[in-house]
Symmetry: C2
Subunit: 165 residues, 2 copies
């Protein structure tokens, strides 16, 4: 049990409060992924495909190596997913111009269509939650999430965020 120093500033950090936060995170993440999961379950795809499609849309021309750093999976695991997406004509994999070992990844027209469908659904969920909670809550939400990331992930997050527009 954390002997927490005096001062009412820290009173909200009881184990019980922390556990509620942990469980809120668990249940909320289920909601967060529910809509895209539902859309993809009809097709032969899953959450792994969604993640790949999302970040290729976000950074067109990204390499396999870059993508697996962002996703935090092995290249072998990502490769299986990418192969099906390429075979199905959703992703275009082009040999790198400078470095021929690399593959630059792009969404095809069909890929863009699916990406839009998935992100529309996920944004709708996020928008509804934001509206219910209000602007101040959204700010706090973002602050806690950023503080919860590993340092490496936080760097990735900022980098992608700031190169987007």
């Amino acid at each position: 049990m954390p002997e927490v120093q005096g001062g009412e500033n820290l009173l909200f950090l009881t184990d019980e409060q922390l556990r509620q936060g942990i469980e809120a995170m668990f249940f909320a993440y289920r909601g967060f992924t529910a809509d895209p999961d539902r859309i993809l379950s009809g097709m032969a795809y899953g959450r792994a495909h969604h993640r790949a499609i999302h970040f290729i849309a976000r950074a067109p021309g990204t390499t396999v190596n870059n993508l697996l750093n962002i996703l935090g999976v092995t290249k072998q695991s990502l490769n299986r997913v990418l192969r099906t997406l390429v075979e199905d004509g959703l992703v275009d994999s082009r040999v790198g111009k400078n470095d021929k070992r690399e593959r630059n990844l792009f969404l095809t027209e069909d890929g863009v269509t699916l990406e839009r469908k998935l992100s529309d659904a996920q944004r709708a969920r996020m928008r509804a939650a934001y509206r219910v909670a209000g602007p101040d809550a959204v700010s706090g939400f973002r602050q806690v999430l950023e503080a919860m990331m590993d340092t490496d992930m936080r760097r990735q997050y900022y980098q992608i965020r700031d190169t987007s527009s």
Copy 2:
């Protein structure tokens, strides 16, 4: 539901803002699970075992049926996880007193020890994030997460939360 109105109050709900929230959720969840994952990777367990242990600790005597509703997986999938935990002496599965079809689940002494180790690690992460973000941010964090849950999950969340102490 806060009546959402026209005007600049909605300006923060741009697609770009929503997308940042989505990606923050993705990267933060990785951090959220990282410490328990690391602890369990040494043993023959994974995230599924952690979830089962967590909710058995939270509601001792819970049934398999109840647990799979909370976890949102099939009973067959949960059963495999529970079997290994029972075999390894971390969970005690007792035939129900009233209804002999049911199994009431409890952590053994070893189970309690592992649960504490896992939740200590996860709470430390959450505590650090809360401290960095501050009390107001924490409140907003919780509000957005609750609004993001599916209705069924929110009910489960409230119920577990309010029966704990």
